[in-house]
């Protein structure tokens, strides 16, 4: 499978803190959306910053479109669109001026496409950005990230702080974007419902480490949570357990093969243990708050 983005054994340590990106590896195939999930401070922004050369990695390899990107690689950056969690344009500018600035930076800047996005998002082009709402600034950031026809979108918490209506508008744009086979999106977020709607792959990061990277459908349809009592938990084959979390009256156990779990633990032998479907939120909580076997 061809990958638009490959991160291998990425390490980044900050001298003034204990935080460490530790041997991070994941790949984003062409034509897909990967949700990059983790709690605040897990390392999502640090990873994206390393991908974009904002931070210097200590070791590891990052390949974009099959090659490593240096500071001089403007060609690769022409194919990337970036949206961070805040507007990156000064509040004194308006959308019209942003368009002129970006037209002077990207060789493939398409002013009519940019204007189309401004119209679609109902963004007044002559109003100062500082008077925009959060949703409007994010839409402007997205219009600017798309108007040079990139192939890869790197979005860092691009939907956080937005109301459901604006989020839905933006998610529609992402889905349109990946209609092209050679387009992909890496979307870091802790709003898992957004990722459930659009992502093809989900990569979980916790404490600077990748704890799980899977196809979303596998997570939704194959993974399950066993709700056990202590006596039931003791009977489980520990090879089946990815992680578990002790609650007040039960232990939640994450397993990767629902059918196998139903076969092995759904019967009388285990006193009809409850086997529940999982959503991304459940998995994230279990991976972060749970204990490995």
């Amino acid at each position: 499978m061809n990958h638009i983005l490959e991160v291998q054994k990425l390490k980044k340590r900050f001298p003034k803190s204990d935080f460490l990106l530790d041997d991070l590896s994941f790949s984003l195939p062409y034509g897909s959306i990967m949700g990059f999930v983790g709690e605040n401070g897990a390392g999502k922004t640090t990873t994206i910053s390393c991908i974009l050369n904002m931070l210097t990695k200590d070791s590891g390899t990052i390949r974009l479109f099959g090659r490593e990107m240096s500071d001089d690689d403007k060609e690769i950056r022409e194919d990337i669109g970036v949206v961070f969690d805040a507007s990156n344009f000064s509040g004194i500018l308006n959308a019209d001026q942003v368009g002129k600035v970006m037209a002077g930076i990207y060789t493939r800047w398409d002013q009519s496409l940019y204007t189309n996005y401004l119209n679609r998002f109902k963004l007044p082009s002559e109003q100062k950005i500082r008077t925009y709402s959060k949703g409007m600034t994010m839409k402007l950031a997205l219009a600017s990230a798309l108007a040079h026809s990139p192939k890869l979108l790197l979005l860092d918490e691009a939907t956080s702080g937005l109301d459901p209506v604006v989020r839905d508008d933006i998610l529609d744009v992402f889905l349109e974007f990946v209609q092209e086979e050679d387009h992909s999106i890496l979307l870091s977020s802790h709003i898992t419902s957004d990722l459930e709607k659009i992502a093809d792959y989900i990569t979980f990061i916790h404490d600077g480490r990748i704890v799980l990277s899977e196809k979303k459908d596998d997570l939704i349809y194959n993974y399950a949570v066993l709700r056990c009592k202590s006596s039931q938990f003791a009977k489980l084959d520990k090879k089946d357990v990815i992680t578990y979390r002790k609650r007040d009256y039960q232990i939640d156990v994450l397993v990767s093969d629902r059918q196998d779990a139903e076969r092995k633990y759904g019967g009388f032998a285990t006193d009809n243990m409850v086997i529940d479907n999982v959503d991304i939120d459940d998995i994230m909580l279990l991976l972060i708050k749970g204990e490995p076997v």
């Binding site: 910053s49 974009l52 050369n53 904002m54 931070l55 210097t56 500071d71 001089d72 403007k74 060609e75 950056r77 022409e78 990337i80 970036v82 961070f84 805040a86 507007s87 990156n88 344009f89 000064s90 509040g91 004194i92 500018l93 001026q97 002129k100 600035v101 970006m102 037209a103 002077g104 930076i105 990207y106 060789t107 790197l154």
Partner: protein, 213 residues
């Protein structure tokens, strides 16, 4: 790089309103009174002030996280630094043009009571003004990259004061030498701040190349 320059231009213009208002008051006072000290101060302040406005945008870049964002755009770090220096020179040129215009207007209204030695005095005054501005900028840009844009106001004040100080020291040093020709001494002063500007640019490039954003 055109886009970076344009972004810098918009930010500089937005910084400038208050400064232009103050300049307007001083120009009016100057044209009415024809005071030679006000003229001298005006030349220094308009050249230094206008060019300083251009680099204060470094703080705006950091506030809007533009400095982080622009790394992801198809521009190199060297181009980002180069753009700051070109913008600085551009506004220095505008500041000089404004100073020349107002000086000319003042002389036209009040007659030449300001420059006893004629063109030699004019060249000296403007060399000094440009020198202070160039030295201040040469100190400010690399230090803003090194110490962070959040300290830019303090750094700018320190840079301008240091710019004055270094200018005085340079003139004192040059005058202590045995060069008798006035224009040669002036040329030496001009060469000194041009060299400082080039060194500053190389230093800023080096600092920014390694900067984590």
């Amino acid at each position: 790089m055109k886009g970076l320059f344009l972004d810098n231009f918009y930010k500089t213009i937005s910084n400038m309103r208050l400064f232009l208002f103050l300049i307007l008051i001083v120009v009016t006072a100057l044209l009415v009174t024809g005071n030679d000290t006000v003229l001298e101060m005006f030349v220094y302040v308009s050249i230094t002030g206008l060019s300083a406005n251009a680099v204060v945008s470094i703080r705006k870049d950091a506030e809007a996280k533009w400095s982080r964002y622009e790394i992801a755009l198809p521009v190199t770090r060297n181009e980002i630094v180069k753009c700051k220096y070109i913008s600085y020179l551009f506004w220095l040129l505008i500041g000089t043009a404004v100073a020349v215009l107002v000086t000319g207007l003042t002389v036209l209204i009040h007659g030449n009571v300001f420059f006893v030695y004629g063109s030699r005095d004019v060249v000296s005054l403007f060399s000094l003004g440009i020198g202070i501005a160039v030295i201040s900028g040469s100190l400010f840009i690399p230090s803003a990259y090194l110490f962070g844009a959040d300290k830019s106001e303090t750094l700018l004040i320190v840079s301008v004061i240091a710019g004055f100080g270094i200018t005085v020291c340079l003139i004192w040093l040059i005058n202590r030498g045995e060069i008798l020709n006035y224009y040669l001494r002036l040329g030496l002063f001009n060469l000194a701040y041009v060299c400082l500007f080039i060194i500053s640019y190389q230093l800023a490039r080096r600092i920014y190349r390694k900067k984590e954003l």
